[in-house]
Every structure is written in C-alpha cells, then in structure tokens.
C-alpha cells in the first residue's frame, strides 16, 4: 500500500477515534458517578452541535464574521447550554430514579434521547435535513503524496487530547474528582463525609454533557455537516468503546474509542470482503474480545471481596 494512503487512513482513524473517545469518556463519567447507562448521551452530542450551529447562524446574521470569535462564542454557548441541559436531565430524570432498578435509568434516558432527537427534527428550522456546519478552523493543508494533512484536523486532535487530559486530571487529582468517585461507590457514606451529593451529580452531568457538546462541535467541524440522527450511532459506538475499555477508566474509554475506529478502518480497507461488512467485522471482533477479556481492556483493580 502506498505510504501516503496509509498515512491518510491513520489520520482518518485518529479523527474518528478521537470523536468516539470523547463520547466514550462521557459514558465513563456517568457510569462513574451513578453507575448508570445514559443512553441519551449520543443525542446530547447532536443537540450540542445544533446549539452551536444556531449560535453561528444568529451571530452571522448579526454581522460577525471573524472566525476565531465565532468559534469561541459557539463553543462557549454550546458547552454552557449542554451543561445546563445535563443538569436538568440529572435533576429531573436521573436523580428521581436513583432507587429504582438501574436499568430504568437506561430506559428513561433512551426515551429522552428520542425526545431530544425528535425535537431537533421537528422544532429546529428544517431540522429533518442535514445542515452544513461552517468550517471555522484554518483549512490550509499539505499534500504528501496521497496524504492530505489538514491543519484543522491537527488542531482538533490536539484540542481533543487536551480536553481528555484535563478531565483525567480533574478526576484523579482534584477534590472534586475524588468526590465524584466517592459518590459513585456509596452515596450515603459520601454524604456522611460532607459531600453535597446532589451538587456532585449535577456537576458530573454538566461536565459530561459539555463534553458531548464539544464532541458535537468537533463532529461538525470535521465533517462540515450535522444531522439530527448523527448522535444515535455515535452514542452506541461511544457506549461500546467505554465498555471495551473497561468501565470507570478514562484511559480505557480512550483506548476503546481508538480501537473501535481502528477496527472499522481495517474492516473497510484491509479485509478481503466488501467494505459494507466493516461493522459486521468490528462487532464480531468485539464479541470475541468480550469473551477474552470480560471486563474490558483496563480491568478494574478490585475483585469483589467475600
């Protein structure tokens, strides 16, 4: 294979992996704090992207043209809006179900996902159509043989890495992170330690949802197109990635995200059968993988004590 083409595949895979990883990290966070699957996460990605787009459109019509400024405002608005949405979800849908069977949260967030998705479709102007997302990052590129390295992609990769590193730091090095992990394990005892349980849950959901908005914007900037269904698939894959990585481990989620992207890329280009089989291939590998490592790549350190 041409080296340039190979490099191109790797670059594609990295971008894809980064987006999966960002979504997966969100899942990990929610598992982490409440041990729940929040299936609406993918749709929050969508809503985040649409929030950013709406901001863009209104800024544009207000006559602002500077790309960096536009981008800054878009990111801020989308992140804040999704953080708020996340808190609302936590407050009114997740917390009330705390004592119910864990799977109920899954169902309720699943339904919420539908509500979000359908709302975008029905209430965003022309929401059922794919929307062009502005390319706001410098798009200069260099061609090395078949390889086309774009500056915007490099910037996005770097930003993604930065966000993940920041989150990792937050979780493992700060008091807030410690509180999040404590709340995840034992709500009552955490409260006995003086932790404001509700606040921690809300903050976690805010962070996770802001992360989703970030992923949504990145998706938009990368593909220059967003649509109301984009989060659905992203959500499922993010979930898969979080699990393959090993629950509760941020590194695991990242590894899982990149692994999944790699599997898809390999399935599409390196295998003898048609590229449409790439998902069949990826999911088959995942099933076999789960048989081999039933608790994911990065295994939880604890085995239950008897």
């Amino acid at each position: 294979m041409d080296l340039g083409v190979l490099a191109q595949y790797i670059m594609n895979g990295l971008m894809l992996g980064m987006m999966y990883a960002l979504v997966a990290v969100g899942f990990t966070l929610f598992f982490g704090v409440l041990d729940i699957i929040k299936f609406s996460h993918g749709d929050v990605v969508t809503v985040g992207a649409f929030a950013a787009l709406a901001t863009f459109v209104s800024l544009r019509s207000a006559g602002i043209v500077s790309s960096p400024l536009l981008l800054l405002v878009m990111v801020t608005v989308a992140l804040v809006a999704m953080a708020a949405l996340g808190m609302l979800i936590a407050r009114y849908l997740v917390l009330p179900l705390r004592t119910a069977p864990a799977l109920n949260t899954l169902l309720i967030t699943l339904m919420l996902g539908t509500v979000l998705r359908e709302s975008v479709r029905l209430f965003y102007p022309q929401g059922a159509n794919p929307k062009p997302f502005p390319a706001l990052l410098p798009s200069s590129s260099i061609n090395i043989g078949q390889f086309n390295l774009r500056l915007d992609n490099a910037i996005m990769l770097a930003a993604g890495v930065l966000v993940i590193v920041g989150l990792q730091f937050l979780l493992n090095r700060t008091k807030l992170g410690l509180a999040i992990r404590a709340v995840a394990q034992d709500e009552e005892t955490a409260r006995t330690m003086g932790i404001n349980f509700t606040a921690i849950v809300l903050v976690t959901f805010a962070i996770g949802s802001a992360l989703a908005a970030f992923a949504g914007i990145m998706n938009g900037l990368y593909y220059n197109e967003i649509n109301f269904g984009m989060g659905l698939y992203l959500g499922v894959i993010g979930f898969a990635a979080a699990i393959i990585g090993g629950l509760g481990s941020i590194y695991g989620a990242i590894l899982g995200g990149f692994l999944f992207a790699a599997l898809q890329t390999i399935g599409a280009v390196a295998l003898p059968f048609a590229s449409a089989y790439k998902d069949v291939f990826a999911f088959t590998v995942i099933i076999m993988f789960m048989a081999w490592r039933p608790t994911g790549l990065i295994q939880e350190k604890i085995s239950e004590r008897v």
Binding site: A100, V236, I243, F283
Partner: protein, 387 residues
C-alpha cells in the same frame, strides 16, 4: 401473603371486575378512531388507574390475582377472545392484537433471561428476526409443516444464540449488555449487506397453513365472516398461553429459585452448589427459544421480513416492555406490551409528533412508577397455597 390463621383464599371478584373493566376499556380504545377521543380515553385510563390506586382498589385486585391466578388466567383468555370476536372483521385491529400477543411471548422469553437469570439481552429483536427469517426461508423453499417451522424457528434462535454463550457467561452487567448490543448491530448489518436472504429488500413470507387450512383466507362460519387474522389470533393465543404457563412454572420451581439466586449473588449461589453456567445457559436458551418461536409466527403474520424490522432499536423496545411492566412479572408484561404496541399505533393521526409524545409518556410512567407498572411480588410456589 401467608398469614397465620388465614385459611381462605382471596376472593375472585376483584380480579374478575378488573378484567371486565380492562376488556371494556381495551375494546373502546381499539374501536375509537377520532384523535380527541383517543387522547381522552388515554387520559381517562391514566386517571382511572391513579384513582383506583388512591382509593386502594388495586390491592384487592392484585391479591385476587396472586391467589387465584389459575382461575383468573382462564378468564383472561376468555376476555381476549371476547375482544377478538368483537373485532372479528376488523383486520387491522386483529393484526395489532396478534402483534401484542406475540410480543408478549417474546418478552416472556426476555423475562426468563433478564428478569430471572439476570442475563441482559439487548438483541431480543435479532432473535425474533431469526425466527421470522426461518419461516420466510422454510415456507418458501421447503414443504415442512408450518407448526414444525415454528419449532425450528425457536430452535434456530436458541442455536445461533448459543454462539454468544461464551462471552455471555463470562461477562456481567454492562459488559454483558455490550455483547448482545454488538450482536444486534452485527446481525442487522449482516442481513442488510448479505444478499442471500434478500438483503435490505427482505423476503416475502408465505402465510401459515395448518392441515390444509390456509391462514390467508377469511373464515366463514355460517353468515359470519371472520378476518383471516382470527386464525392467527387463535394460534398466537395458544402459543402465549403455553409460554405463560411455562414461565410461571419455571418461576415457581426450584429452577426459578436457582435463577433468582444466581442473579442476586453469584458468589453465594455457587457456595451453595449452584452450577452458574448451567442455569445461565438454560435461561438464555429457553428465552431465545421462546423469542424465536414468536418471531417465526410473527413472520408469517406480517408476511414480510426485512432487516429493518429487527434493529437494535426494536430490541430496546422489547427491553422497555420488560422494564415498564415490572421486571419478572408476566402480568406486567401483558399490560406493558399493550401500552407499547397499541398506544403509538393509536396516536398515528398525530403523525410526526407521535414518537415525541410516546417517549414523553413513557418517561412520565417511569417517574411515577420507577419499579414498573406491576412490580414482581415475592414468589409463591402455588397460588393461594397456605401452610
């Protein structure tokens, strides 16, 4: 509940009253067409249940069902027939009704897996699909009697499901969820990209034919004409009753106890001699078998199979039914299936807003009853049995 000194069984009356009311309500709901009426009826239903709960009228009903399940089960079958006969000419209502019955059978299978053994299965629709595709292929290319086809559909679902046994046995919780989710996505994509089974186009399924009686013809009894779906209704009902009894007996036996024990605490269970793998496999296979049979029959009812019918989203609907009904309670499944299948259908006239409304409705129900509509009661091995 066994109370000292109490020897008499709870009265049948509240149970029968509830059944009669439910039947009447169902007929009304299925019969009305006008949107305001439908919404009014739905609102009325919710209000009525809330009110009954408020006045404490639901307790005697559930006691009556707990104690007299055998008898009330017969009445429930009767009620189903009353509804079916009422709509004997109405193809669509009967189709809807048959869909409900078969979905109940499938969720009963899921219930064994998840409700009892704790094995998550997010690929319910896939196994349902395997059953349906079985009847599509066998009815088209072979002359195998159709009852046997149903059986083969179930067996095939169990067999293909057993490919997942190793990862399912080794994983737990969310990890196990991923295995079946991956399978659901895989199977759908596979059916879609592979042309052998019709690709995304799907396949036609020949209607059921029992002992020379083709199910696609309307039935004439004297001057009364019955929709051909009535035959499917009868067969589905037989299947459902069989599945229901199977699940009930399973629950009310040492095997049900084993499944509960391993779901709740695997370590403790294995310290008391339980073969975890054996019972998980048993539950997984029986569950898939039921789902497969239901799917095979559904394939014939719908007369058409396509990969799009059996997506991950459809599997989630099956799981939703389980959660909505109250995990582990077969009666809850019946109620929940009616809601999940019939309500969106009845909301057709609000067209593009119906998914939105439906989702909001489910969220409301869950917030109101986090444990599901009818939470599972403590096991009684024989209804009405007193020490």
């Amino acid at each position: 509940m066994a109370q000292a000194g109490q020897t008499s069984r709870a009265s049948l009356l509240p149970g029968i009253a509830a059944l009669v009311l439910a039947t009447g309500y169902l007929i009304a709901l299925l019969a009305v067409e006008k949107q305001p009426l439908i919404i009014g009826l739905l609102a009325f239903g919710i209000a009525a249940v809330l009110a009954a709960n408020w006045f404490g009228w639901l307790d005697p009903v559930s006691r009556s069902f707990a104690d007299r399940e055998d008898r009330l089960g017969c009445f429930a079958i009767l009620a189903a027939f009353v509804v079916a006969v009422f709509f004997r000419e109405d193809h669509f209502v009967l189709l809807l009704f048959v869909t409900v019955l078969l979905y109940v059978v499938a969720t009963l299978g899921l219930n064994i897996q998840f409700g009892y053994a704790g094995v998550l299965n997010f690929a319910g629709a896939s196994f349902f699909g395997i059953g349906a595709y079985t009847s599509a292929v066998l009815n088209t290319y072979t002359a195998i009697p159709h009852l046997l086809v149903l059986l083969i559909g179930g067996l095939l679902a169990a067999l293909i499901g057993s490919l997942l046994l190793l990862p399912v046995l080794r994983t737990r919780g969310h990890y196990a969820a991923l295995v079946t989710i991956a399978f659901a996505l895989l199977l759908k994509t596979f059916l879609e990209v592979n042309d052998v089974l019709g690709g995304p186009q799907g396949m036609q399924v020949k209607p059921m034919n029992l002992f020379g009686w083709s199910f696609n013809d309307n039935i004439h009894i004297g001057s009364v004409e019955l929709s051909f779906y009535f035959s499917y209704f009868v067969v589905s009902m037989v299947l459902l009753v069989g599945a229901f009894i199977l699940v009930r007996r399973l629950e009310r036996s040492w095997i049900g106890l084993n499944l509960d024990a391993l779901r709740l605490d695997e370590t403790a269970a294995s310290c008391f001699g339980l073969d975890i793998a054996r019972w998980k496999i048993t539950a997984f296979l029986i569950g898939n078998f039921l789902i497969g049979i239901a799917g095979a029959l559904f394939g014939m009812v719908g007369s058409f199979v396509a990969p799009n019918n059996y997506t991950f989203a459809d599997s989630l609907i099956l799981v939703s039914i389980l959660l909505l009904g109250g995990i582990g309670n077969p009666w809850g499944l019946v109620v929940a299936t009616f809601i999940v299948v019939v309500v969106p259908e009845k909301l057709q006239t609000i067209q593009e807003y119906r998914f939105l409304l439906y989702s909001v409705l489910v969220i409301a129900v869950l917030l109101f009853r986090p444990e599901g509509l009818l939470p599972r009661p403590v096991r009684s091995y024989f209804p009405g049995w007193r020490p």
